[in-house]
Symmetry: D2
Subunit: 336 residues, 4 copies
């Protein structure tokens, strides 16, 4: 088994997709062990570390990478299987942030009202019990919620010679902030530039739907990703696969366009997978599909279209990459 470990030095962190050379080259079939820093660059460590004070724009939401996948060319697809996502510390953090979040005026939803107060919440992370503990800042209310680790940000270099802040999700991936991107899931990303140049970051111990306040339970992560390359497979928007579901993503504004993109991709994909007429697929997805919300706070919003494989006759997609990568991941975990 080809295992590569990579832990970025602080100056190696990346803040864009595109516009950066690769930090490593990996061959298809590689199992990649990486460390990802939290969205604050690890600088918010107490309730007194206000992000607007300790962080410097645009050095937010660092990603680990980019990684050049050998042989990847435009028109191919990268398959990234998340073997495991484990919090790197016994604490995590969430905050409000001035003019960021769904229930406040923002840079673009510009308003004359003053910003909401900037507040930091520290969470205790217990990987033994599989929980995170919330504590109110005012009063003594506290509650445990299940640990459900995920990555908010995964993507490749965009096409058209663009470079995009990691905070922005779009057709190249980026900060989609969907809880569906957890261990056991394979992400498919269309390749736009030689090597693909994928990167991963923004670990969350858990996240509500839409990340309404703008941040999740943010944490550094030790993450294992198994990488494959599917030659000649075009993927217009990032797709996900778990054992039971296929998923399409869409990232845009307004939110209905994110919904439209994801459902349109699922309908046309389902039609091709099940040999259905397009309107027949439209009908089937309309009755059988789910629509998990990713984020409703970033520079583009993200929604998913999620379809049980059994409603489509359990088709094999991407040459069975998920099954193979899942097996590779289990072999890796068994061997440790």
């Amino acid at each position: 088994m080809n295992v590569v470990s990579y832990r970025p030095a602080p100056e190696e962190l990346s803040f864009t997709f595109g516009g950066r050379p690769a930090v490593r080259r990996v061959a298809p079939g590689t199992v990649l062990e990486i460390y990802t820093e939290d969205c604050f660059g690890g600088l918010v460590r107490t309730v007194d570390d206000l992000p607007s004070k300790v962080c410097e724009f645009p050095y937010l939401n660092p990603v680990t990478g980019p990684f050049h996948v050998e042989g990847a060319e435009p028109g191919d697809t990268l398959a990234l299987h998340f073997v495991s996502i484990r919090p790197a510390r016994d604490w995590a953090v969430s905050t409000t942030f001035p003019h960021f979040g769904a229930l406040t005026g923002t840079h673009t939803t510009a308003m004359l009202q003053p910003a909401l107060e900037e507040v930091v919440w520290m969470y205790e992370v217990d990987t033994e019990t599989g929980t995170v503990r919330y504590r109110a800042r005012r009063g003594d209310f506290t509650v445990e919620m299940p640990l459900d680790p995920m990555h908010g940000t995964v993507g490749v270099a965009p096409g058209a010679s663009e470079a995009r802040m990691t905070i922005t999700p779009d057709a190249h991936g980026g900060n989609m902030d969907t809880p569906e991107l957890r261990a056991g899931v394979t992400v498919y990303l269309g390749v736009n530039v030689p090597g693909g140049l994928f990167a991963v970051g923004d670990g969350h111990c858990r996240q509500g739907h839409g990340e309404v306040c703008g941040t999740a339970v943010e944490a550094a992560m030790n993450t294992v990703v198994a990488v494959e390359l599917i030659k000649g497979a075009v993927t217009p928007w990032p797709r996900l696969e778990d054992d039971e579901h296929l998923m399409s993503t869409g990232s845009a504004r307004p939110l209905e366009d994110a919904y439209r993109i994801s459902q349109h991709d699922m309908v046309t994909w389902a039609a091709s997978l099940a040999g259905l007429d397009e309107l027949d697929a439209y009908q089937l997805v309309s009755q059988g599909g789910e629509a998990p919300v990713g984020n409703v706070c970033d520079t583009n919003y993200t929604m998913l279209a999620k379809m049980p494989k059994r409603y489509l006759g359990r088709p094999e997609v991407y040459e069975g990459a998920h099954t193979r990568l899942r097996a590779l991941g289990e072999q890796y975990l068994g061997g440790r």
Copy 2:
């Protein structure tokens, strides 16, 4: 037990919330047995019954009611507990409809492209096995999906002397089209006019998230609703409660506003229920909340904010109406 049965004659069906006198008066505590017609008025019965041919605008999406609840005054809240929702026939129907649905130009998202083809799909409904059967119109693909009956439309007369088509969801309820509105759930609706004047319709055997093609697996229903009145309780937008969750709804355009309304209501409601500061509640809902999509096809879009009660210390809401109505419903079902 006070049980009232009502099956509307065709001319008694209603097509607006508001602007209509009550068909019956019911006392709080009543168990109401009703029949609801499907969204096509029962007129689409074969694949050749194109809705644009057999239905006449605006006589679409009929509701059963309105019902006057004795003693209900503006500033009160109606609690409607759905005891059971059973398909009235062994078939159901879904269609595309010209310029309606999320993946087509519409009346307001006006486009020069011609309409999608109008197509009807008939479903077999098997209440024994708890399934509906989809059949492609072109080719022989077929699949069973679980029966999960719900009502797309429930609401009261709006305030401000308005009357609204039943197709439109807003603060008074209406065509929210959320699969969360199933048997076992209590819906809370703020009263705007004396008697509240609630009505119910648009039964679905099941529905995907967002009702992307514009219609669900549409069916006439035999439905049992247990009714209570909570005096002096203001409900700004419809709320739902099941055994484990509290839910707020929002209906608006663009879709992010539906999200904002529902999350804003959940945050402020959670703050008041758990004695939390508003920003503390914002944080808690951000990490613990879900956001089920209702519809992304109607004249307003609908989203829900859904919060596990256990994250809020299992507060009693609306004087425990859900628990009481659930018990009343079980008593009713046991007595049959």
Copy 3:
């Protein structure tokens, strides 16, 4: 000349389109002299009269009417020519209003930020010099701007048995808040119910584009409207005509849908008027058309598509109603 005068008693003011009987019947060809109260019902008369204190929801934005036009049937079109719009007082008023306006969170763009301060501005209206005078509330800045009287609200009873608050613009007209609706302009409204039931209100001494703070320079008006009925002419959305332009309106959310509706109507109308292929008309409107913003603050936003008649070969529309009504108006003004 058939001249009808009507000044509503306070209890005769109407707050919805639809759901109200006519206050008068008028024959086509009538010149109607009406008084309209300002959007605050005349209750905000000093800077200390905060709207949230002196006004009572939903008794806002009163309209004068509705008027039943004899012979009007669904499928016809009313032509309302604004002969003159004169401020009824030597003062006018504007305000911020809690959670209303484009640069604040609102009922639907729900935010956790506190409301902006509620402030009243009084304007001096000088009909001799044709100016209104703005005075800052803090400091001594003052400036004169041209008087440009208009009506924010004009509409008919909606179809489908609906009744809508006067604050809401939609296919029936309503609170479109466009400065294009000034004296010399003819408004065309599709008839949905017998008699049409049109009403007029919400006079503005002038208004910026979009009414960004939520209110204009609000004033009671003495207004003269000449009325015609065009039988068998369908008008899907309100249209306007002045001596040099044709205009289509659209009212919806998000704002791009208001744009789409108005442009779609103009493209298809232009195609039919100039005998153009639809794509040829799309091209011509794309290069020759304007897009005045109505409101970006109401429950639906409003935009107009405005096309010089000369680019379309100066077609006659609605049987030349504008020319006839304009002549009638001049005759009326000459005779006083």
Copy 4:
């Protein structure tokens, strides 16, 4: 007078803002003579040259530049005064383009309807009479419209190490597609990187409001720009100044956010220029301001807030750059 001429070779055209080295360095005070190619790279020359056939994505909407302005640093502002914009040929071109434009489904407003037909319209450009001639493709309808040359695209390198396709307008400028950007106007752009790196392209002989079909009357241009640098002046979004008006731009989706950004910038700018309280400025802009639509078809939509200087006491902005550059431009034109 320091005059620099630059005509890009085809391989020197740029398709992004950011991510490219400067083609020239210019000193503040320079008068720059440039040639800009049309949005199709000059490849659509007859009605048979369908853009989807003769153009290759992403090589669309080329800009001339970028130009490095000596001494420009982040936190400064570039002032670009358009001295003259003259069509370089006696023809211009417009087209529909598959899944692009306001009245069709697009990449993000994803729909299942087939694309509109791709059609090319050729325009005759007569600089003597100052007209362009439209000819319908089907039938013999033709009409002259005034020539009103403008640039759709002007911007600088974005911040945060981003590179953006020239088609996208945002805080760095880009493809704003506003007819206000004509000769006699000064554009202010905030500097994000050393040298600013501005570029100009996408000439239009004229354009309707919103560019509803997706393209204007597209033309290569010979354009003269006078350049200044204002040190220490922060410009959050592109601003424009003509002799009588100040203008702020906003580019975002949905369209109301473009409106909000532009109005927010104008309100806060006006407050600072006229020494007004922010709510007083909100009121003044609400009654005195205009809101010209830029584009409603690009990847972000653009709107402007436009305020007569006389309503603000004719303040000097950006150290009087517009007046100086206008004089420089006149001197240049006089000297030819």
